[in-house]
Symmetry: C2
Subunit: 226 residues, 2 copies
């Protein structure tokens, strides 16, 4: 395994090449098929992951069975960093929405890494603080903005994460149903469908079955910030 994959991750900020090699040696490679889960909400949080291939959907279920999607992870990103802490549970479920490969460390191994490389702990904490801040922003948006704006923001975020230039516009490179978009912005399938339809009429997006292309990113930004 090539250690350079970890090189640009904030979590391994300040690690030398040799140190990264050491860290990688401790990792296991996980393969998870499309539709299967890395872990479920409330499982004991005993492994952290770095996604190398595929897409992971991090989602949470309400007591009454509603689902919201909190994050889409793409290569090369860390998820389940909560596993650095002892005796925690995973706060979300992690589903592979494409065939995935990920490096993974057990809590023990993370413990060893923390001890050997003190900066790792502070990197991990920094990462958490960043999540916390991101969440606050999302929370604020959910509390104060209309569905239209929130959907536009989601598409923009996905654009940055997994946007792929094509002649049809920028393709959001993952299977993406109306239902899933609804779960990402706290609304319903039909509302998302209506919005996409109306945007398609204005040539802002083009969308097919579980597919979305962005045609006019400036218009989307205008909607998001309106």
């Amino acid at each position: 395994m090539d250690h350079t994959v970890l090189h640009d991750l904030p979590l391994f900020n300040g690690f030398s090449s040799d140190e990264l090699k050491d860290v990688i040696k401790k990792a296991s490679l996980f393969r998870v098929e499309k539709g299967a889960y890395f872990y479920h909400q409330e499982d004991p949080a005993d492994r952290a992951f770095v996604l190398l291939k595929g897409r992971v959907k991090l989602s949470q279920l309400t007591p009454d069975g509603q689902k919201i999607i909190l994050r889409i992870a793409a290569p090369v990103q860390v998820f389940a960093i909560v596993a650095v802490l002892p005796a925690k549970e995973y706060p979300v479920s992690a589903e592979a929405i494409e065939d995935c490969e990920a490096l993974s460390w057990s809590q023990n191994e993370l413990q060893i890494i923390s001890t050997a490389y003190p900066i790792f702990t502070s990197n991990a904490m920094d990462l958490m603080a960043r999540y916390l801040q991101d969440f606050q922003t999302l929370f604020l948006q959910l509390a104060t903005e209309r569905v239209e704006q929130r959907l536009a923001r989601i598409l923009l975020r996905l654009h940055d994460l997994i946007g792929l230039d094509t002649e049809d516009g920028i393709f959001l490179d993952m299977p993406l149903t109306r239902q899933e978009l609804a779960e990402m912005c706290g609304t319903t399938l039909s509302t998302v469908s209506r919005l996409l339809s109306s945007w398609e009429k204005n040539a802002i997006v083009r969308s097919g079955r579980a597919k979305v292309f962005i045609k006019d990113i400036l218009a989307l930004k205008a909607i998001a910030d309106y």
Copy 2:
């Protein structure tokens, strides 16, 4: 200053009495008057606090001037733990809504404490993970529940935090306007007022100017979980 005030804080889990004394010696005492601020959103995050007296409102402003209240802090609680990390900004503003006293450590002092007592770092991380989880729960509720349920939950949380038994029911011991309740659950003043009025008719709460008493906590719980 009596070191036992810190004794039950998760942040100082695993500290001996002597160690707590040492930690307290490094602290400064801050007094902040009602209406004044400990810090503002986006200030450099250079101090963490433990509130000893009063109430603190942690809130965030949207670009267009809407406000949401993310948390109310009461004695003895930690806030602004993000200051353990270098080069961060405060993600919220902290306003004293009563005359307050708080212990405070600068980033330097926090650094020294972390070095001297390694468990401190992991306690801090644990605390952050807890906030993260709390936020996810709030986020989920905001996305999936009606205003009525969310307001009931807020009152229940305030009950646990600052509830005070009186003959008129359980008094939520802080100045608490309809406007503020609205900012806590992402709705409007008028909606909160209507809900409280209707609850008052059913003897679930009693409320006056900037005052709320809970009369029937079971009924509130039923509303929250309906």
